[in-house]
């Protein structure tokens, strides 16, 4: 016979409860699972095949923005000159500041979207490895405001909350707007300058009405999609230079140039000049156009 206390009603219910709890615990324990860590690719990288499977060489492009990156890669892949020399094209994009000197020295990229002063800042003798293929100039930079068009006067700027990028190499978001303020005779230190670590935060703050003025290119209107007024700061800013590796197959420069066709007018609203310093494009842009 079982001990008397087990036959007690309350003890009986407690025992039932404990049994059930034990069952649930075992069920939970045996059915818990883990997952084998999935191999995640890089999502700032786009690769396409040229169709030349026999060639394992890869043409690698570095951009600063994802804008049109995949379109450029696809165009390169479709170009017969590229197919002749390369099996695939890889386009990656990362912020300007992420480009390192060792990547220039080791010639990690065949094509780099950057600026001369950025490249020189990293590796002064970058010209030994890269040369300029195209320059994008006449890039327009504006002051944007949510109200009436900004006026370039000290009275107008006084008391306004002005957003800047905390990057002393940035033309659009640091150098040009500060130059504009100086031209208007404004004492920076007295004004309400607010610095941001990245452009997205800056524009989001502007969109949330935490800033009265920001600078930027034509893309601001496109990206923010709110009614804005603007005043030109500079119509001839230097937007970027496309650097190409000196060591490259002959005859691909025109294909590279045409892959960036329309890029400037649609996104940057600047003008491009094909520098044509390479051996492949000795005579400049005219030689490339059909």
């Amino acid at each position: 016979m079982t001990p008397l206390f087990l036959a007690n009603r309350n003890v009986h219910w407690v025992a039932l409860g404990l049994l059930l709890a034990a069952g649930v615990a075992v069920c939970l324990w045996i059915s818990s699972q883990r997952i084998v860590a999935p191999a995640l690719g890089d999502y700032h990288v786009y690769r396409c095949d040229t169709g030349n499977a026999a060639n394992s060489a890869e043409f690698s492009v570095l951009l600063v923005s994802s804008a049109r990156a995949r379109e450029i890669a696809d165009r390169l892949c479709a170009a017969p000159e590229i197919r002749r020399h390369y099996g695939s094209v890889l386009v990656s994009w990362k912020p300007r500041g992420r480009l390192g000197a060792e990547e220039i020295l080791s010639e990690s990229y065949d094509l780099i979207w950057s600026r001369g002063h950025t490249m020189a800042g990293l590796v002064p003798e970058y010209g030994d490895f890269y040369q300029s293929l195209m320059r994008y100039d006449h890039y327009r930079v504006y002051w944007f405001s949510r109200g009436a068009a900004p006026e370039l006067t000290a009275e107008y700027f006084h008391g306004k909350r002005i957003g800047l990028l905390n990057d002393k190499l940035s033309h659009t978001l640091y150098l040009l707007p500060l130059a504009s303020l100086k031209e208007a005779g404004i004492n920076f230190s007295a004004e309400n300058l607010i610095y941001f670590d990245d452009a997205v935060s800056l524009y989001q703050a502007f969109a949330r009405n935490e800033l009265d003025l920001v600078s930027g290119g034509d893309y601001v209107q496109q990206d923010l999609d709110i009614p804005l007024s603007r005043t030109l700061i500079s119509g001839d800013a230097h937007a970027a230079t496309l650097f190409v590796r000196r060591h490259r197959p002959a005859g691909i420069d025109c294909a590279l140039a045409s892959a960036f066709e329309g890029f400037a007018s649609e996104y940057l609203h600047g003008q491009r000049t094909l520098e044509g310093v390479g051996e492949g494009v000795a005579e400049g842009a005219d030689r490339c156009d059909p």
């Binding site: 069920c27 045996i30 059915s31 999935p38």
Partner: protein, 341 residues
């Protein structure tokens, strides 16, 4: 059977819930470690770019298409994750199993993923129903609880000095009436629980022992004086021999013939000479009969209490012809036992 079915279904539901929950938790932890940087790098610098978002979402789904679960039991064949929202500002809508938080610059973003898993149903059903079966077996093996009545009875018995084991085994069979007998027996025998239990469990019985001049009522010894004992025995014999009725003789005319069997009994068993002589001289007198019945009655009631004694005493009815009372033992003759007389 029904319990088993219900438990099995419950466990299967619980197991799938737990499997999915732990998988989502694990994947969420892993993605929260590796994904924010990758997404921030891919989606940096642009405020909105639906086309890019779609492409990144697609790539991410490809990478998360064949997820391999590992567990103590291979309950899940494989899983895949769908991107429900790639770019969501700070407060995401509920519905995603997995939330990955990251930043574009200092702007918080969340990516929501939904997990879909293919379960190994046969194994899931088999293991969970086996678990349910074990649980049902354990529940069945659990001793059944006592009723309140039985619990109270055990408490009563424990109070009377029975061992728990004894109390438990007796509690189910002992009626309230038997408990009264038990109490009385215990009181009379000086605390011998064993003997009291025997007495309580006994059927109705009225036992005469001429050797010790004792009656044992329901196993409880009641000592009577010689004369009342023989009267009692005499009434019992009458009960055994026929319907047991004995008409009280008229007050002025004692019954001489009726006394013979009683005189014989007393002589046989060593009754008091005084009583025997009285019977011989005067015959059966109504007064003597009444006196002795009353003595028997008093002794039994003092020994057993009114309630228990009642059944073993006398019943009476008025004789219509003579207008006098007649008496007999109330108990059935079958329960009367006469030893060594």
């Amino acid at each position: 059977m029904l319990l088993w079915l219900v438990l099995s279904l419950g466990f299967i539901a619980l197991a799938t819930w737990q499997a999915e929950r732990t998988l989502a938790q694990d994947l969420s932890a892993q993605l929260n470690r590796s994904l924010p940087e990758k997404l921030a790098l891919a989606m940096q610098s642009r405020l909105t770019d639906d086309d890019l978002s779609q492409w990144v979402a697609q790539r991410l789904e490809q990478d998360l298409h064949m997820l391999t679960p590992v567990g103590g039991l291979p309950l899940v064949r494989h899983c895949s994750a769908r991107v429900t929202q790639l770019l969501e500002a700070e407060h995401p809508a509920p519905g995603g199993d997995i939330q990955v938080s990251w930043n574009i610059g200092s702007e918080p973003r969340s990516t929501l993923l939904a997990l879909d898993c293919q379960y190994n149903w046969p194994l899931l059903a088999a293991t969970q129903s086996l678990l349910a079966l074990l649980l049902v077996a354990a529940i069945v093996l659990l001793p059944p609880p006592l009723s309140h009545v039985q619990g109270a009875r055990i408490a009563q018995l424990l109070q009377r000095g029975l061992s728990p084991l004894q109390a438990r085994s007796v509690s189910a069979s002992l009626t309230d009436h038997q408990l009264m007998w038990f109490d009385r027996a215990l009181q009379r025998n000086g605390g011998d629980t064993e003997q009291a239990l025997v007495a309580a469990a006994m059927d109705q019985q009225l036992e005469f022992d001429c050797a010790s001049l004792q009656v044992r009522v329901h196993g409880i010894a009641v000592k009577l004086a010689k004369t009342p004992f023989f009267y009692y025995l005499w009434y019992a014999r009458l009960r055994q021999q026929g319907d047991g009725w004995l008409l009280n003789p008229p007050v002025n005319r004692p019954d001489r013939d009726g006394a013979d069997s009683l005189i014989e009994l007393m002589l046989d068993q060593g009754g008091h000479a005084k009583s025997i002589n009285d019977l011989r001289d005067n015959g059966l007198r109504a007064k003597t009969l009444d006196q002795n019945r009353n003595k028997i009655r008093d002794e039994l009631i003092s020994a057993l209490g009114e309630d228990l004694a009642a059944a073993y005493l006398f019943e009476s009815e008025r004789d219509i012809k003579s207008g006098r009372y007649r008496y007999r033992l109330a108990v059935d003759s079958a329960i009367v036992k006469i030893l060594t007389c």
